[in-house]
Every structure is written in structure tokens, then in C-alpha cells.
């Protein structure tokens, strides 16, 4: 989901040239940070924009009180959105950075770029398996961005990683568990994993139900249609999830006559009922 930190009004005030210039200068850290986000948000794919974002990925000047690198995080997210393959090797290097949030943003960007060169480095972050996947004392996150890593491996199609990913279905953090089910379904096509996510739709926590909706939409698990429509969540979320199902169903059944399958029609009827 698009994360917009700024109102549209403010976003409209920049031009491409200004954003690039803002990102180049080193005095005003706030406007650098904003420019990096802006270039991704408005999909500025000009070579010069890519170049400054790649520089920002290695930036040392913008440091958060927790020792993190806010600008690097934003630059990584932006590079993912721009679909720039040149960014793959630098983003892979980011996976070794000490800042958890840089590693997470880089992982998510690599997922979007969907490049299998990232597989070995992503797999390495799973070293130690579930036993090592604990919370960092005093932090709200685990030692690695497991949710993002596992989702990325699923999207990229890293079938060689299934034996590493499978055990994460037992992880105590629900979102990590969902990510593992999602990836395992993508990598094996086994409905056992889709059903884990379907059961999650009936969970207690609204935030987690939303999460399972998005995961089911992302994998297009067609049997989930009814359960999605009945989930206690916003219709807008359910519609996005059903859209994912419909797209997958259509892409799997492309034929000469372009006839709609019964399953497609059923999903559309569910969508109609949620408008």
C-alpha cells in the first residue's frame, strides 16, 4: 500500500529539477528526505534522478537518534518504485547495513524489482531459521525484516528457499506466519498454505485481518472469494483482495475466445455486492 507522509497540496509544490537539486544539497536534511520520497511517489525515472537516489543510498549525513539512516530508507523505497534494474546491486549491498529499516526498505524494493540476483543475499538473512528470528531487546522489531524477506522470496519465485521458509509458518508473529504461508503458496501452489490465510480472515484483530486480505489478493487464491467477502473489514480492502483473485484467475485462463470463466464471474458478483 502506498504510504503518503505528506498532503497532496505540499507534494505539488516541487518540480523534478527542484527535487533533484534538493536531494543533491547536504544542508537541509528535511528537504533531502522529502525529495527522495517525492521522486518515488511521482515515478520520476530520469537518469539524473536515479543517479542522485543511488548516491542517497550511501548517504552518511542524515542520521536518526537511533543511529538509523532515514534518507537511505526513503531512497531505497523510491528506487523500488522506479523499477530501475541498475539499483539491484546497490540494494543488495543495503541488506548488510546495520539499520534494520534500511534492510527492510531495500528488501521491499528488491521484491518490487523482482530480480533473482537478490535471492542469495535474501536467503542469507534467514540464517539461523526460526530459532534466531527473535525480537531485538528494547525494539519493536525482530533481528531481521523477516516478513519482507519471505514475501520477496515468494514474489521472486525462489523455489530453492522453500525448505528455509516453511518453518516460519510456525513463527509466533502472525504477520511473519502469513508471509510464510503466502510465499509457500506462491512457490508450491499447494492450497494448504492458501487455507492458512483464509483462516486468518476470521482472526480477532482487524489489522491482521486486513493483512491476510492483502496477502490473499497478492497470491490470487481463488477459493478464498466467499471468505474474503464475509471478512469483518472495510469493503475497499475486500475489493482490492478480490481484484487480485480475479486478475490471477483471468491470467491463468487466457484462451482464444476470451470467455469469462465461471470462477471469474463469481468473483465479480462478490465484488458487485461490496460496492
Amino acid at each position: 500500500m502506498e504510504q503518503d507522509y505528506f498532503g497532496v497540496g505540499e507534494a505539488e509544490q516541487l518540480t523534478v529539477e527542484q527535487a533533484i537539486a534538493n536531494l543533491r544539497q547536504k544542508e537541509d536534511l528535511g528537504s533531502r528526505y522529502y525529495a527522495a520520497w517525492w521522486l518515488g511517489r511521482f515515478r520520476v525515472k530520469e537518469p539524473e534522478a536515479i543517479e542522485v537516489l543511488l548516491m542517497a543510498l550511501e548517504d552518511e549525513s542524515d542520521r536518526a537518534p537511533d543511529g538509523g539512516y532515514p534518507l537511505r530508507r526513503n531512497a531505497a523505497r523510491a528506487l523500488g518504485k522506479l523499477g530501475e534494474k541498475r539499483a539491484v546491486p546497490p540494494l543488495i549491498r543495503c541488506l548488510e547495513f546495520p539499520d534494520f529499516y534500511v534492510r527492510e526498505a531495500a528488501t521491499q524494493a528488491l521484491e518490487v524489482l523482482n530480480d533473482n540476483r537478490a535471492i542469495p543475499a535474501l536467503v542469507k538473512l534467514l540464517d539461523g531459521g526460526v530459532a534466531k528470528a527473535q525480537f531485538v531487546p528494547g525494539k519493536p522489531h525482530l533481528v531481521q525484516p523477516y516478513e519482507a524477506i519471505i514475501e520477496a522470496l515468494g514474489t521472486i519465485g525462489a523455489t530453492e528457499a522453500t525448505t528455509l521458509i516453511e518453518p516460519f509458518i510456525e513463527h509466533t508473529v502472525e504477520k511473519v506466519k502469513y508471509a510464510a504461508a503466502r510465499a509457500m503458496y506462491q512457490l508450491t501452489g499447494n492450497s494448504v498454505y492458501g487455507e492458512i490465510l483464509v483462516r486468518a480472515l476470521a482472526g480477532e484483530d482487524l489489522q491482521l485481518r486486513r493483512s491476510a486480505l492483502m496477502d490473499l489478493g497478492a497470491i490470487g487464491y481463488i477459493s478464498a472469494g466467499e471468505a474474503i467477502a464475509e471478512t469483518l473489514a472495510e469493503n475497499s480492502m475486500k475489493l482490492i483482495a478480490l481484484k487480485g483473485l480475479l486478475e490471477e484467475e483471468i491470467n491463468q485462463n487466457v484462451n482464444q475466445s476470451l470467455e469469462l470463466t465461471q470462477e471469474s464471474i463469481k468473483v465479480m458478483e462478490l465484488m458487485d455486492s461490496l460496492l
Binding site: 480477532e204 482487524l206 469483518l232 473489514a233 472495510e234 469493503n235 475497499s236 475489493l239 482490492i240 481484484k243 480475479l246 486478475e247 483471468i250 491470467n251 476470451l258 469469462l260 471469474s264 464471474i265 465479480m268 465484488m271 458487485d272 460496492l275
Partner: protein
């Protein structure tokens, strides 16, 4: 009578006192099941809570109560909470009362929330035209048609989707009363099938086209 009223007061009290998401959902379901006009203000209030399950139950309950809900909801629409407004638009759509027509026409193309535009476009397709004075029907239908055609080029796919669904319902109505307006709708379906950037839009337009032909 007194007994019934007391029961409804008890049900309302239960909604107001609910202290968990599940508790609220149950209380709203019970109150909605009473189908009583006294429940309207409380059910409308629930639309503004951030609890999608309870909101669905409240919407269903309000639609069941039907027309008496419309004037109350028209005067108590929340301009600031777009979540609540989207649910309210679903109530108008479900009741289909033409007195909400102006609001639906405006909301479908001007509301800043895509969920509100979506619900309004859907509602425009299911107006109960028999409730409108006969001489007002055709001009109103033409206005609905133009608005839905406009909404079918919204920037958000979900609004375009609702507009196609609305146009399909409208085409079904017009097929018997104003068949000469239908070709404009089928042409739009053809256009969406061939040009929309979203796969689901092309599929939905195809389904609409198949179902009215």
C-alpha cells in the same frame, strides 16, 4: 407498545455500552434485527465508529428499515468522516429512494473519497424509479446516465468498476422504458473492454455487455 419501546431502549443501551469490537458487533446486530425507526439515530452513529463489522450490520439494519431512514440520514451526513459517509451512501443505494438522488449524483463525481464515489455510482444504478413522479423520471434518468458515463472515467479503478455496474443496472431499467438510451451504454462497455488499463475493468465491462445483450 410500551414493552416494545423498552426493549428497543435496552438494545440501544447495549450498543452504547459495548466495550469490545465483538460486543459492539453483537449489540448492533440485535438492534438492527428489531427493524425499528427508534433505532435509526443509534445505527447511523455506528457508521462513524471505526468498526467495519458493526458498520455492515448497521447498514443492513438501516436498509431493512428503509425509507424512514433517508430524511434522517440526509440531514445527519458526516462531512468530515469519509468512512461514515461511504457507509451512508451504501444505505442510500440499498434503499433506492429517489429523494437521495441529488446527493448521489453529486457524490459520484465530486466527493474526494473514492469509497464514497464508488458507493454513489453503485446507488445511481438502483434507484427505485417508481417512487418518482412519472414526469420526472426521464430527465432524472438522463442525468444519471451522464453522471455514470463521467464516473466511468474516474482515476480510481474501483469507481470506474462501480460506474459500469451502475450502468448495467440502468441499462436493464431503460431497456423496457427508454430503449433508445441503451446504445450509449453498450458503446461505453465496448470502449472500456478495449481501452481500460485495468484487467478487471475490461472483464467487468465484458460481463456487463454479455448480460444486457
Amino acid at each position: 407498545m410500551t414493552k416494545i419501546l423498552t426493549d428497543i431502549e435496552t438494545l440501544i443501551e447495549a450498543v452504547n455500552k459495548a466495550d469490545s469490537a465483538d460486543g459492539l458487533l453483537e449489540a448492533v446486530e440485535d438492534l438492527a434485527a428489531a427493524k425499528a425507526v427508534e433505532a435509526i439515530p443509534t445505527l447511523v452513529e455506528v457508521l462513524g465508529y471505526n468498526n467495519p463489522g458493526a458498520a455492515v450490520a448497521a447498514v443492513d439494519g438501516l436498509i431493512e428499515i428503509g425509507e424512514p431512514v433517508v430524511p434522517y440520514l440526509l440531514t445527519n451526513l458526516d462531512d468530515y468522516n469519509y468512512g461514515a459517509r461511504a457507509w451512508a451512501l451504501r444505505v442510500f443505494a440499498g434503499v433506492g429512494d429517489p429523494s437521495a438522488l441529488d446527493l448521489l449524483l453529486k457524490a459520484a463525481v465530486t466527493d474526494f473519497s473514492q469509497s464514497v464515489r464508488r458507493a454513489a455510482a453503485r446507488g445511481l444504478g438502483i434507484i427505485r424509479w417508481s417512487k418518482l413522479a412519472p414526469e420526472k423520471v426521464l430527465p432524472a434518468q438522463k442525468e444519471v446516465l451522464q453522471t455514470l458515463l463521467l464516473a466511468s472515467s474516474d482515476g480510481e479503478w474501483v469507481v470506474r468498476y462501480a460506474a459500469v455496474v451502475g450502468l448495467q443496472s440502468l441499462a436493464k431499467t431503460l431497456a423496457t422504458t427508454q430503449p433508445k438510451l441503451v446504445p450509449e451504454i453498450t458503446a461505453k462497455f465496448q470502449e472500456v473492454m478495449q481501452t481500460d488499463s485495468e484487467l478487471v475493468m475490461r472483464a467487468r465491462a465484458q460481463l456487463a455487455w454479455q448480460q444486457i445483450n
